[in-house]
């Protein structure tokens, strides 16, 4: 239950200032819970924050509304983006992010239940940095989280 409480508050229990903040946009509470659990199991200490739809994601990134205070809503260094969300979907927000000079350098990893070629092409055309089909087991999700951690925070250099 501690995990669920932390998830509702929008942050992991392990928050370390110097580590890159990861922002996940997903309307499915199950998927948010499972991703948080996978981060814990993989001991990925980055702060993981959540928004629940595309409009919230844009508000967060542009520090608008409830996300206006950057000390409370720090700029993310990586975005995990659900492709199918209400209000603004993944396509719309990805397009918006990648044409915005202030936001376009933030890597965006698209997560989708779809593995349709059309969706994959569309995501990369819009500037996605990776496209991942959501796994069908928790172990699959944990493996993806481990690989994301190794890739984005162990191998590549991210813009500051």
């Amino acid at each position: 239950m501690i995990l669920m409480d932390a998830m509702r508050e929008g942050t992991t229990m392990v928050a370390t200032e110097q580590l890159t903040t990861i922002l996940m946009a997903d309307d499915d509470p199950d998927d948010r819970l499972l991703t948080q659990q996978a981060f814990r199991e993989q001991r990925l200490a980055n702060e993981l924050r959540f928004v629940e739809d595309g409009e919230q994601l844009i508000d967060y990134l542009k520090q608008q509304g409830q996300y206006a205070d950057p000390s409370i809503s720090p700029r993310p260094g990586l975005i995990l983006l659900d492709w199918n969300m209400p209000k603004k979907n993944g396509r719309e927000v990805l397009a918006e992010i990648k044409v915005d000079p202030q936001l376009k350098r933030i890597p965006v990893v698209v997560l989708s239940t779809s593995n349709a070629e059309m969706d994959i092409r569309h995501a990369y055309d819009l500037g996605a940095n990776a496209f991942i089909s959501k796994p069908v087991t928790f172990e699959g999700l944990a493996a993806i989280v481990k690989t994301l951690g190794e890739h984005w925070f162990g191998i590549v250099e991210l813009p500051s």
């Binding site: 239950m1 995990l3 669920m4 499915d28 509470p29 199950d30 819970l33 499972l34 659990q37 209400p86 069908v136 087991t137 928790f138 172990e139």
Partner: protein, 116 residues
């Protein structure tokens, strides 16, 4: 009746969670928080003849059941979502009644949790 109208079992949920009972119960807790509220919202939307809200809430209910594998409740939610999408207002009350029955059957199983 579909082939999914069989007694609910935990096989698919436990397979998804690789046998982690605690993780399955976290998903159950989350469903218990969201599911009944969605049912109430669907009922109100049907009264208001708002097919779009029926479709959206039924979609969310179906999604909230996805990690529990096949179940009559998930099937009824999917059917109600389709009816909402097609704006078949006259069919909504009877399908909603079927959904509520399926939920009433399912919830005691979920509360009990998977076998130890």
């Amino acid at each position: 009746m579909t082939s999914h109208d069989q007694p609910f079992d935990w096989k698919e949920a436990l397979e998804f969670a690789s046998g982690r009972r605690e993780l399955v119960m976290e998903l159950v807790d989350l469903f218990m928080e969201e599911g009944p509220g969605l049912i109430a919202e669907i009922g109100k939307a049907i009264e208001a003849q708002d097919a779009k809200v029926v479709q959206e809430r039924a979609h969310r209910l179906k999604g909230s059941l996805k990690y529990f594998g096949t179940s009559a409740a998930a099937d009824r939610a999917a059917e109600l979502e389709a009816i909402g999408s097609e704006q078949q207002l006259a069919d909504m009350p009877s399908k909603f009644a079927e959904l509520k029955t399926a939920m009433d059957d399912l919830i005691p199983h979920l509360r009990k949790g998977p076998p130890e």
